[in-house]
């Protein structure tokens, strides 16, 4: 048992991490490999979050560490795809976390007591965060390429049929389908969201 715990805590060395990046995607350049890693981490965080786990970031890192360790120990992993293997390990990590959470459950009335005491502070803080976020949105939107800035502002403009008509014309202007436009807009929005999150954290 102690052996298993030690294994879990063992950190990865640079070589093992490089091998893991290579296994995750067969792209030749370092940028694409890093992007593959970040994308897999994003998917893991989103998965644990959809499962209502309390610490999705930590569970995502735990999953990636386990996969990388296994690769380091065995030299290769037989699976249909790296993504599928990551999912299988994530499922195990999730089930383990459920068992851990059962032991740490806090009675609901304690949570609500704690919350109500901080309500006024929380509201003031919320207002402050909102202001920061608007500043950051301005900053991050200005950092986008001009064409992406135009797409993101126009894509989300209007309500219902105005919005639909607007998107149709925007896609037409760009010479792409509405479907391709929505994928592009979604990617820009994700990028913007990440930038705003970082920016708010710094302020």
């Amino acid at each position: 048992m102690q052996n298993v715990e030690q294994k879990k805590k063992r950190t990865l060395n640079a070589e093992a991490f490089r091998r893991f990046l290579g296994w995750l995607g067969d792209d030749a350049d370092a940028d694409s490999r890093s992007e593959n890693y970040l994308e897999m981490r994003r998917r893991l965080v989103a998965y644990f979050d959809r499962k209502n786990c309390l610490q999705p970031d930590e569970l995502a890192d735990e999953t990636l560490n386990r996969v990388a360790r296994r690769l380091d120990e065995e030299g290769d992993i037989e699976s249909e795809t790296p993504a599928k293997y990551c999912y299988i390990v994530a499922r195990f990590v999730f089930l383990e976390s459920l068992r851990g959470t059962e032991k740490k459950n806090v009675p609901l009335d304690e949570i609500s007591r704690a919350k109500s005491g901080n309500l006024a502070i929380a509201e003031a803080k919320e207002e402050e965060i909102k202001e920061k976020m608007l500043d950051c949105l301005e900053h991050c939107t200005n950092q986008l390429e001009a064409i992406n800035r135009e797409i993101i502002t126009r894509y989300y403009y209007g309500e219902e049929r105005i919005k639909i008509e607007n998107r149709r014309r925007l896609a037409e202007g760009l010479g792409i389908t509405v479907n391709a436009l929505s994928i592009r807009a979604c990617r820009i929005r994700d990028k913007l969201e990440i930038c705003v999150k970082k920016c708010v954290g710094k302020k």
């Binding site: 999705p56 599928k84 976020m133 502002t153 403009y157 607007n166 994928i183």
Partner: protein, 347 residues
């Protein structure tokens, strides 16, 4: 992926935790293994959050959203982002964006009338088949500009309608919140509704006029290209179109700018390239003098072709040969010459 394993409805149900366990697990796996699914899920999530922020959820869906989706801090952050993004987008008045292309294609109220004079002169001069071909190109250019003008007008009324709809919604919300809503607000709401109906009607009329005019012009251009734009208003702008220069020469295109024209607009058909913004300079034939420079211009895409419209004062042209030097603006803002369009003004 050969067959689509999901749709908007079950993606939304998945995000709200409403799918049966087995189905949810299948979606869990797809969110890792299928890029198409991961992208569609991201879009569905944005749409769901936007619907909540824009008061587009109600009843059981709204309750489910609050109970399930908002249970996670990360997802609450997503909602906060969407709220602020909405505020930001409203603040950066989107209707302005609709107008950007309008500034690039300048039109004058009497533009059509110019053709009556030009074409009657052309007939008199009997320039033959080559001139007729040029006139066809000019007619095409004129139709294109006219169409752009009508399209911009349509855009403006669309934006105006959107603004009115927003105001109507805001007022409706205010009235609902205050049970003793004042008669003044009610009256304003009624006025806005009337105005909205009027704008909608106008837009419909404009659309019909555009279609009718377009059909008429196309029919006339096909049947009798030289006599097409026989309108009576005073001429002020002259329109021409230039095809990409041919390698190894070819005949020099000619234009004939009438004495009473204020502006010359030339539609340049670009050769395929990767630039999206351009600058154009009007030069004398030998290139020793630059007579005029444009600002940054955006090309319009029609099918696989790119079109650039440039307008400059007619008084710059004498009876001689000129070139329009087109430069693409690269990522660092550095211009790179794309092509030279030589033409001769014969009047």
């Amino acid at each position: 992926m050969n067959e689509r394993k999901f749709n908007q409805q079950n993606l939304r149900a998945y995000l709200l935790g409403e799918l049966p366990e087995a189905e949810a697990e299948r979606f869990d796996e797809l969110s890792f293994t299928e890029n198409e699914f991961a992208e569609a899920l991201g879009e569905a999530e944005n749409d769901l959050v936007d619907a909540y922020v824009g008061d587009g959820l109600s009843g059981a869906k709204l309750e489910r959203f609050k109970a399930h989706y908002l249970a996670s801090p990360l997802r609450r952050e997503k909602v906060e982002f969407a709220k602020n993004f909405r505020t930001y987008a409203e603040k950066h008045n989107a209707p302005e964006i609709f107008k950007t292309s309008a500034s690039e294609v300048k039109t004058e109220p009497g533009e059509a009338g110019f053709f009556a004079g030009v074409f009657s002169n052309l007939r008199l001069l009997q320039l033959g088949f080559a001139t007729a071909a040029l006139a066809l190109m000019v007619t095409g250019g004129w139709l294109f500009v006219e169409n752009s003008r009508l399209r911009n007008r349509f855009d403006e009324s669309l934006a105006q309608q959107a603004e009115l709809e927003r105001r109507e919604k805001r007022l409706r919300d205010e009235i609902a919140a205050q049970s003793n809503a004042s008669a003044e607000k009610e009256a304003e709401l009624a006025r806005i509704r009337e105005e909205l109906a009027r704008v909608e009607k106008e837009r419909e009329q404009q659309r019909q006029i555009t279609e009718r005019e377009q059909q008429q012009k196309e029919t006339l251009a096909k049947r009798q290209p030289i006599e097409t734009p026989r309108l009576t208003a005073a001429p002020r702008a002259a329109f021409f179109a230039l095809a990409p220069p041919l390698r190894g020469g070819g005949s020099l295109p000619t234009i004939s700018v009438p004495a009473n024209a204020d502006t010359v607009t030339i539609r340049l058909e670009l050769e395929p390239n990767d630039f999206t913004r351009y600058r154009v300079a009007l030069k004398t034939q030998t290139g020793e003098r630059i007579l005029w420079r444009s600002g940054s211009l955006r090309a319009q895409t029609t099918g696989e072709n790119k079109i650039l419209n440039v307008s400059f004062p007619a008084r710059l042209l004498r009876v001689q040969t000129y070139s329009l030097e087109v430069s693409g603006i690269g990522a660092g803002g550095k211009p790179e010459i794309v092509s030279d369009y030589f033409f001769r003004n014969v009047r």
